[in-house]
Assembly symmetry: none
Homo-oligomer: 227 residues x 2
């Protein structure tokens, strides 16, 4: 997921569609529109969204048929429809929808549910593309790291190590794991590489490199980025 999540709004009523998209854009999302099933599929293929807001009552196709497709594409799905039947909700949720909101809806609530859906999806995919620990923030998408306000320059290897640690923030990664991920399987025993890289990272990111709090060491096992 990019720093600005991509949301696809599938809704046949243009007025409502625009309304939703405006609200999304105002809240920092990138919104794409689709008025029907075929259009939605095309948009899906063109650039896979992070979340789909799906109206079930489409003119050309039943939205329920699209649901599995979005799911397979890795998107979260929030069904947003006028159909209030309990059976419909159950069917949609059990088909993999992440939430179900009936029209008319409250915009603030919808946005909160959108956030919740994205949170769930993010957890599922396990990729936090922006991570902030203390005063350092890591933007995976931009491949940028900053401490406080200034940006910090990292060499490729340094960045790769940090990224791997950040992808599993809080978890203890073994030397072998990190080495495999960054240097490839053939170097999974060259712990010295790791030491040099970690030292460089600490020097650049830690407030007190002598007493590291960000990248911790578990003697004999590996390193861990605090969560």
């Amino acid at each position: 997921m990019k720093s600005r999540p991509l949301i696809l709004v599938v809704e046949d009523e243009p007025a409502i569609r625009r309304l939703i998209c405006r609200a999304l854009e105002l809240n920092g999302y990138v919104a794409r529109e689709a008025g029907g099933a075929v259009e939605a599929l095309r948009a899906m293929r063109a650039s896979p969204p992070d979340l789909v807001l799906l109206d079930l009552g489409l003119p050309d196709r039943d939205g329920m048929e699209l649901l599995p497709l979005f799911r397979e594409g890795g998107a979260a799905v929030l069904v947003l429809t006028a159909r209030g039947e309990s059976a419909e909700k159950v069917a949609a949720l059990d088909s993999g929808a992440d939430d179900y909101v009936t029209k008319p809806f409250d915009t603030d609530e919808l946005l909160a549910r959108v956030r919740t859906c994205l949170r769930h999806r993010q957890a599922v995919l396990g990729q936090t593309d922006r991570l902030t620990v203390g005063d350092v923030s890591i933007d995976m998408d931009m491949r940028r790291v900053s401490k406080g306000l200034e940006e910090v320059h990292l060499t490729p290897k340094e960045y790769d190590v940090l990224a791997e640690l950040a992808r599993h923030a809080g978890r203890l990664l073994t030397h072998a794991h990190l080495l495999r991920a960054v240097w490839g399987p053939s170097h999974q025993d060259d712990v010295e590489y790791l030491r040099v890289a970690v030292r460089a990272l600490r020097r650049k990111l830690e407030s007190d490199p002598a007493a590291p709090v960000l990248i911790r060491n578990e003697p004999g096992v590996g390193y861990r980025l605090v969560a």
Copy 2:
């Protein structure tokens, strides 16, 4: 998560509470009840649930205060309350609630949302096997162990022994078994290693290391982690 997910229903109105629990039990869940905040916390500690159905309007404490606690305990939270204010919903969802349903609710829809919450939770936790015995909890995935609130540092061997014991919690593991698992087949007779490691573990994890309750000794056979 067990084969039958454990759900804690926090709701002060006995009639509604029973109704919900009955519905849950009929659908293959194990339901626990709590009429207030303190009761909920006790139930939480006794056996951490997979999901909490939380009514915000409790007599003794605002449900919103409990929400973070449940989240930290690894439970999914479905807020089920009479408060229909949009701001309330936004606050709850942004505090980590996985869904928000207002009373009166439809039972089938609630059950579908329960399923969705559990699905999300399972995805989030992935295969994070976490074991809690008394006040010590072992997170295999993170390779972390904590007693009470503080984290406890374990050396590699200490952790390996504990992990092996935890993997077969409640079962009696022979000296040879543990030694093979941790030190390798060539040291399966060096019981001294084991004693030193167990002692270190007890010192760090037991409330009274002189009277161990967590790691028990079966004279002449091996050790056992209580379940």
